[in-house]
Symmetry: C2
Subunit: 240 residues, 2 copies
Amino acid sequence: MTSSTSPTSSDSTQKPPAKDPWDLPDVSGLVVGVLGGTGDQGRGLAYRLALAGQKVIIGSRAADRAETAARELGLGVEGADNATCARRSDIVIIAVPWEGHAKTLEALREDLAGKLVVDCVNPLGFDKQGAYALKVEEGSAAQQAAALLPDSRVTAAFHHLSAVLLQDTSVEEIDTDVMVLGESRADTDLVQALAGRIPGMRGVFAGRLRGAHQVEAMVANLISVNRRYKAHAGLRLTDV
Amino acid sequence: MTSSTSPTSSDSTQKPPAKDPWDLPDVSGLVVGVLGGTGDQGRGLAYRLALAGQKVIIGSRAADRAETAARELGLGVEGADNATCARRSDIVIIAVPWEGHAKTLEALREDLAGKLVVDCVNPLGFDKQGAYALKVEEGSAAQQAAALLPDSRVTAAFHHLSAVLLQDTSVEEIDTDVMVLGESRADTDLVQALAGRIPGMRGVFAGRLRGAHQVEAMVANLISVNRRYKAHAGLRLTDV
């Protein structure tokens, strides 16, 4: 391989040098909204991101419930109804229960227009044998979000986090990688950078949205792992 | 919680102490067959298991191809046609290409009767955007194997291993966990123990066969990871 000596080289067959995949943007000034921020996963993420210095707004169907949760968290976290939360945020994490996923997103299509949406919802069922992955018509929760939000930039991430560890104030580091999926590198880079703000976490690009189902469904396996080993399992990618 | 003071306690409501999930059986004396052992994944697994001291038989449709591959590996590895390989082995790893999966297993139903079968096949498609998970009527390759082999004990494991690393003789340790799925704890314990014989590897129980699809499909994401980071990614479970 030869390297370019001039940025204005007219050799059109010459590729630019590959971008360092760990060269991620600064997201410290962005406002992060968490829809479903009064649930365990959403509240835990809101806490960790606020603790890392991010401006966080919790969204809920009822503004007063969001405001109460925000007050309990402190750290400058605010609470608002879902639509206000979406409009005021640059990045919006979707942490609502799967049962309300489609309905919630449909109602917020305009509020979420232009936003970077991060879906972390895991469509799971439970029976006597534990958790199992639900079939989703669009393929995954993230692909359903992309279908319902044509004017948003939809990514998927933060699926494998233990809500227990996220909310445990005695836990200083969350020992896990965060698989980030999306169609645009600019968007997945932003989400990776956001994950990387939380001590112990690392955001790793893990493919396009069509690969989201198995990332969401893997939570069922982690629940089996947690039962057998009395653990709060996370995932690390090795050799990366 | 009170602890039992007598092993012959007549209190029928008292549960036995939970078995240590890391108390795994000795599998060093078992013969391991690898169907599809002339392919990259099969050959790599055969090499690592033989190197760890396991008696390994490589199976292939043509006995002479299996024998050639076995001779190349050395380490006491033998080669045989698939049926002979299956009959002579205690544990049989299925490492055939997905395209030949159903047909191969159907033909070996009797040879695999009573055997502990370990399916490590990943049903994937490839296009310009990379790898993607194929839909499997039975849910997953492992569930297809279970449906086709009613007289075998079917488990799933060894999906996330890099065939490149497995076959690289300069690599001494494979830094990854092996998710093991199955219906019977006795069987998954044996497969976990087998994985644990390879330096660096650890077998971790990760649920029943109904959770195999996402484990198989996750290989598509690992291929995306490998492309972006020029890596041979594996997976570790944290907090376990």
